[in-house]
């Protein structure tokens, strides 16, 4: 569906997105920005990384934030500088948890399809269309990715939480990853739809900071993206407490 229509069905393995049609990891270790606890027998062989990602909307902007840790099941840190928020569209970005390889393929496909759409139509796709595209990708491919997608278009600031089955749910704020519950604790208390962008950034940072305190699979700093109709501005901060007020 999202493959190159010119590509033969029996295309060689290297020409497809990583792990697209694979249920089973082909490597001994699959790096994950985990959203769920791995099955017991996975834990020994499948690399899991914990993650806390959050997104919240303001009147005319979306703030997306994530920690920077990748780990094996939250017990060994495999990277301390993972970027878990990526721009995929002129005025939209995705924050995600899940398998690193699946995420990389997912982001590459979203970006490519958004560019192709803009080439063909002469204007960027709406954030709603982008969320439908992302949901279709998740539903039709066994991708272990749980994204939070945010963007700004004619409709204003839009945020969508997603699941691995391709469910797409619009919301004013959302969280994903192993630190989800800790993050929601902060978001439920602090989210204010009338907040200014700076205040929303502080709330997002506070949610990641709180989750990083207690979730062993989250930590090592903060990636904080602000999406407006002007584009996506991304900051990397060593300590989320620096931003969290």
């Amino acid at each position: 569906m999202y493959g190159d229509p010119e590509r033969p069905r029996n295309a060689v393995q290297s020409s497809r997105s990583p792990g697209r049609h694979d249920h089973t990891p082909t490597h001994d270790q699959t790096y994950r920005l985990s959203d769920t606890k791995p099955a017991a027998d996975d834990e020994a062989t499948v690399a899991e990384t914990g993650t806390t990602v959050v997104g919240l909307t303001t009147d005319d902007a979306v703030v997306l934030a994530a920690d920077r840790r990748a780990s094996l099941g939250g017990r060994f840190v495999t990277s301390k500088e993972v970027r878990k928020v990526e721009q995929v569209h002129p005025t939209a970005a995705v924050a995600f948890s899940g398998s690193v390889g699946h995420i990389q393929g997912f982001v590459r496909t979203l970006r490519t399809e958004a560019t192709l759409y803009e080439d063909r139509r002469g204007h960027p796709m709406s954030v709603s269309a982008l969320s439908t595209l992302a949901g279709n990708l998740l539903r039709t491919n066994p991708l272990r990715v749980t994204p939070v997608l945010g963007g700004v278009d004619d409709e204003g600031a839009r945020l969508f939480g997603m699941d691995q089955g391709g469910g797409v749910l619009g919301d004013e704020y959302a969280a994903a990853g192993s630190g989800t519950q800790l993050a929601y604790g902060v978001l439920e208390r602090r989210y204010d739809p009338d907040a200014a962008v700076e205040s929303a950034r502080e709330t997002a940072a506070a949610a990641v900071a709180t989750a990083s305190e207690r979730d062993t699979a989250s930590g090592d700093g903060l990636t904080l993206a602000t999406v407006t109709d002007q584009g996506v501005a991304t900051d990397v901060v060593a300590d989320p407490a620096e931003v969290a007020a």
Binding site: D4, E6, R108, R111, T115, L116, D119, G122
Partner: protein
Amino acid sequence: MNGTDRQAYDRGTTVFSPDGRLYQVEYAREAVARGAPTVGVTAADGVVLAALVEDRSPLVDRREAAKLSGVEGTFGLATAGHAADARQLVDLARRTAAGERRRYGEPIDTPALSRALADHVQEDTQRGGTRPYGAALLVAGVDDRPTLIEVDPSGATETWVADAVGRGAVDAVAHLEEAYEPELTTGDALSIAIDALGAAADEVDPTDVEAATVDADGYATLSADRIATAS
């Protein structure tokens, strides 16, 4: 060769004439030569594309570019010949660029993009049940340096510093041979391109010209004011 003999080699694109010609490909080139002219000129920092648009009626709404198209915001395509055939090739270029990015995570370059188009065009000169594309393309991009490549209905590619396709292309190229200089500014390249359109067609009204630049900042169509100023 008399008319009857010739007809036998006209039937399919895959049949050579005894003197080694593919008549259907030559007719496809003729279709290009009847299309409104299109010109490309490389400058020091980019490539300028300019095309003459001929509408059947003043009632045609011309808000969308007809003969120039962007690919990934970084390449420009200019076409001459059958518009519907050209449209297929433009979309193939977009799918090819998207496929490259999906596969490698990197943008395609101008020669590879041109070759992919040319490979597809060539297939339809060799396979049964097809006809050649009645369109030629100028592919413009900035790789290490500004690059302009022509793809013709036979599937041949050639890299030019300045080129024209479509009706009057011979006259346009003759003008370009006189006027072209290395390291042109984009403004001068635009003026030369519009003059070349003038050499190809008898009369050129600047409002009938579409133009675009491809440089390090990407593909951008030029406003009617900018075109009128350069004319």
